[in-house]
């Protein structure tokens, strides 16, 4: 029983991390219809900010990571994504793949191809006893951060003018433009939000593993993509749900797969979208009428 509770807490914590990633991906998708491969590199670069700012107080370093994530995301939009804004989604996807490759290899050349360790505050690696269940503090932090981020995002989207503009653009970009929403500003804002979400994930990943590496963004971004696919494209709630589901399944597979199959956990996790798409070709929350309109 204790073990089950323990595993469930682990699962939800991983699920919230995945939900944060999926949200970062889906914010861009809803506003400009682009699946952004470089989101993994936004995460990676934010994490490297912690490595570079290692001597400073941890809170300052985290602030640095946040600023890095936001600035990189806005810069990438300005330089690479704005010119292909009107291209079809395949072209945008390939463009973001190019940006991801460039950023990843710049870090590889400028820092090192090998992982670097980053010191994190001691309390993160400790655990708290809760009625016989030992919960790592990092999981509290992950759950708490996810809750705060979701609350902030909800406030931004539903309580501010900028959020209203973003939601309008997500509904119908051209119409929103005609009604006076400034496209450049809304898209830049979406990238800033996406970059901030990436920074949160980057910081959590560093706390979890204690290290950074140039390729650390690859698995997260694919987790985000798969979560969004499972949840149904362009739905914020679907992204959260898909991320949670994927994280819970990955975590439980890790806990309950037989020893001999454990190394293949990722194979099972990434086969999941196939299984779901067989049953629901447009994702869990995707519209059944996702076919092109006539």
């Amino acid at each position: 029983m204790t073990e089950l509770v323990q595993n469930l807490i682990d699962a939800v914590a991983l699920g919230s991390l995945y939900a944060l990633i999926a949200l970062g991906v889906t914010v861009i998708y809803t506003v400009m219809g682009m699946m952004n491969f470089a989101h993994g590199e936004f995460i990676m670069l934010s994490a490297y900010a912690l490595y570079v700012l290692a001597g400073l107080p941890f809170a300052v370093a985290v602030g640095g990571a946040l600023v890095t994530g936001v600035l990189i995301a806005i810069a990438a939009e300005r330089v690479a994504f704005r010119p292909v804004r009107k291209a079809d989604l395949s072209a945008q996807l390939v463009t973001s793949l190019a940006v991801a490759t460039i950023l990843q290899n710049i870090v590889m050349g400028a820092v090192d191809a090998r992982p670097k360790s980053v010191a994190t505050p001691g309390f993160i690696s400790e655990s708290t006893q809760l009625g016989g269940v030992s919960v790592p503090n990092l999981e509290f932090l992950t759950l708490g951060l996810t809750a705060v981020v979701l609350a902030c995002l909800g406030w931004l989207l539903y309580r501010t003018r900028a959020g209203l503009a973003m939601r309008a653009a997500a509904e119908n970009f051209e119409m929103a433009r005609l009604l006076g929403v400034q496209a450049d500003r809304v898209i830049a804002l979406s990238f800033a939000v996406s970059g901030a979400l990436a920074a949160a994930v980057g910081v959590l990943l560093v706390m979890q593993t204690g290290q950074v590496s140039p390729t650390m963004g690859l698995t997260p971004v694919l987790v985000g993509f798969v979560a969004v696919t499972i949840g149904g494209f362009g739905r914020m709630f679907g992204a959260v749900l898909g991320g949670l589901l994927l994280g819970v399944i990955a975590s439980l597979l890790g806990a309950y797969l037989p020893e001999s199959l454990l190394p293949f956990r990722d194979a099972f996790v990434f086969s999941l979208p196939v299984a779901i798409l067989i049953v629901r070709p447009h994702g869990l929350l995707g519209a059944a009428t996702g076919e092109a309109r006539v």
Binding site: L89, S90, V94, I102, G109, F233, L277
Partner: protein
């Protein structure tokens, strides 16, 4: 007789020979070089086969797959395991079944088995994936790449795990890689120019229009996906036998970005582009790789070790291409079409004598009643009830006009009849057979075709190709399809434009092209959704004149949707008026015009005033 061809012999010859010559040139550069250069050239040729594999799927379908390198990986491992010397096999892959471990096949047989295995794997993987959307395919294929990597990296006792395999016999040389690459060029072009290839290209150009012509999108994508898997498997197998070592990351993220870049830089839609892109990007990559390790540029500038430089270069090339030149170096054209510009005027001779009779519907008259019937069709979008129990009967050989004001439900009714929309209640039958729930493609193959309010052209296909795709869509073979298309174009007076790109036509011609495409399916029932919409009055009248002459010849039942009263009145002996989702009146134009309810609901007082004036 020159009909039966989509391309002039000269275009075919140039399109085949130029990429083959590039392959031969690459081989020649390597053959006279140092052993290192020979190795590099062999690797480029292996990559070319993989890129051609990408072209077959991505280029023709317009849908990106990031999983094709997974098939290259699978092919490489299959071929390596089948050829590994027994002593090494026992050491590296202890759990390998004895049959495989002791096989020690030759290079040709192992490559063929790898190709077949990858074809089967791609078909099995593609079966669920191809059902999903254009956006889900890139992501789920990427997931597949990770699955393959994860399995290979952890299945230690079969695959050698993350340290991989060594001592694979190095049997691939420039000659064998070059021959395979040449064969891959021919295969990719043959596929592109086959009826299957054209059907798939039509789905790339406009998915909705393709479905209306009888093309099953999932099926066509799946076939190309499997063929692409075969080519990638061959490329992987040859590459493993070139380098002699194989690790799970050989064909993973980095290789995926590199090969996709090669395809995109050359121009994904063309086989020539795949060849050109592979050679260009490989060359740049090779130069940067040398600089990466520290080198002297031009003997003067000294460059230190700069890891990642080659990959950054590839990324920058890809980014620059996507921003500045999304159609790639070739603009997506084959070598034979390059010099002629978009209109390809010089290719005109492809159209020979009129193929009389080719345009008649090939199908036998069905036994049941010959009519398209809708009974009690109701459709609601949310709370909005667009159709409320509409009946409609379209008899074979009859022209029925469907009129009504904007928002009356005309297009919704056509969507229901053509299978694009499932009604909430009501039944649709075709020649006495209930066809409720059938896909648009199946209905087209059963003899029911439609056009759309927008022209929905296939912009990168020629006019002749666009119309031939209509016939291919319902299963007519390539040769016969061209004969049908030629006949239809002759009949519609579009022969002059046969070689033009569909996307370059003026709007009125694109509209007519949509009708031609639909006629090429040999429909028994044809639904024309506002064929004159968006055209000027003169253009509309011309279109109507052409239609009037044509429709009688083709002998199909025609449902003509219009809100221009005059168009319908002049073409249709029978008219059905709907308004606000219900039928107001069915009758001759005179009867309809005389009905006060129709006049009030639809024609309005201004029409009466105009009519009496």
């Amino acid at each position: 007789m020159s009909s039966g061809r989509l391309h002039s012999p000269a275009l075919i010859a140039v399109s085949l020979l130029v990429p083959l010559a590039l392959v031969a040139l690459t081989m020649a550069v390597g053959a006279n070089g140092t052993p290192a250069l020979q190795g590099t050239v062999t690797t480029i040729l292996c990559n070319l086969i993989i890129v051609l594999g990408l072209q077959v799927f991505i280029g023709n379908s317009g849908v990106y797959s990031f999983g094709q390198l997974g098939f290259a990986s699978a092919g490489a491992y299959v071929a390596a395991l089948l050829t590994l010397p027994a002593t090494f096999a026992a050491l590296q892959t202890p759990a390998l079944p004895h049959l495989v471990a002791s096989a020690q096949l030759g290079p040709l047989l192992s490559t063929l088995i790898a190709a077949a295995a990858c074809g089967v794997l791609a078909a099995v993987v593609g079966l669920p994936l191809m059902r999903t959307s254009t956006l889900a395919i890139p992501i789920s294929t990427f997931a597949f790449l990770i699955v393959i990597y994860n399995v290979l990296a952890n299945w230690d006792r079969i695959s050698g795990g993350s340290s991989g395999l060594v001592s694979i016999p190095r049997t691939t040389g420039i000659a064998s890689a070059g021959l395979w690459a040449g064969a891959a060029v021919v295969a990719a072009l043959a596929f592109k120019w086959s009826a299957r290839g054209y059907r798939l290209q039509a789905t790339r150009e406009d998915e909705v229009a393709a479905r209306s012509l009888g093309i099953g999108v999932t099926r066509e994508r799946l076939i190309a996906f499997a063929l692409s898997g075969v080519l990638c498997g061959i490329g992987g197998a040859l590459a493993a036998h070139q380098s002699g070592v194989l690790i799970p990351t050989t064909f993973y993220f980095g290789a995926t970005v590199t090969t996709v870049t090669m395809l995109v830089v050359g121009g994904a839609r063309s086989v020539f582009g795949a060849v050109l892109g592979t050679i260009t990007v490989s060359t740049v990559n090779e130069v940067l790789r040398n600089v990466e390790g520290g080198a002297h540029l031009l003997g003067v500038v000294s460059v230190g070790r700069t890891p990642g430089l080659a990959a950054i270069g590839v990324g920058l090339i890809l980014l620059a291409t996507m921003i500045a030149m999304p159609d790639g170096l070739t603009g997506g054209r084959e070598a034979g079409g390059l010099s002629r510009g978009p209109r390809l005027r010089a290719m005109r001779p492809i159209l020979g004598s009129t193929t009389n009779g080719a345009v008649e519907p090939a199908r036998a008259e069905p036994a049941g009643g010959s009519a398209l019937c809708a009974e009690g069709v109701s459709v609601a979008f949310g709370g909005l009830r667009v159709l409320r129990g509409v009946d409609l009967t379209l008899r074979r050989g009859e022209a029925l006009g469907l009129i009504g004001p904007n928002g009356a439900g005309k297009t919704t009714l056509v969507n229901v009849l053509s299978g694009f929309l499932t009604p909430d209640t009501g039944a649709v039958s075709l020649d006495g057979v209930d066809v409720g729930g059938r896909s648009p493609a199946r209905l087209a193959r059963a003899g029911l075709t439609r056009t759309f309010q927008a022209a929905l052209p296939f912009p990168h296909l020629s006019v002749l190709e666009s119309v031939a795709v209509g016939a291919m869509g319902v299963g007519v073979g390539r040769r016969q399809a061209v004969a049908v298309a030629t006949g239809v174009l002759d009949r519609l007076g579009m022969r002059e434009q046969a070689a033009s790109r569909a996307g370059s036509l003026p709007p009125a011609s694109q509209r007519l092209l949509g009708v031609a495409r639909a006629l090429a399916t040999g429909p028994r029932y044809l639904l024309l959704d506002e064929p004159a919409a968006g055209l000027s009055e003169i253009e509309g009248e011309e279109l109507v004149a052409i239609l009037r002459g044509v429709l009688e010849d083709f002998g199909c039942g025609v449902l003509l949707i219009e809100h221009e009263m005059s168009v319908v009145m002049s073409l249709c002996p029978q008219v059905q008026v709907i308004d606000d989702g219900v039928t107001l009146r069915v009758g001759s134009p005179a009867e309809v015009q005389a009905d006060p309810a129709v006049v009030e609901a639809y024609l309005g007082s201004s029409y009466l005033a105009a009519a009496s004036a």
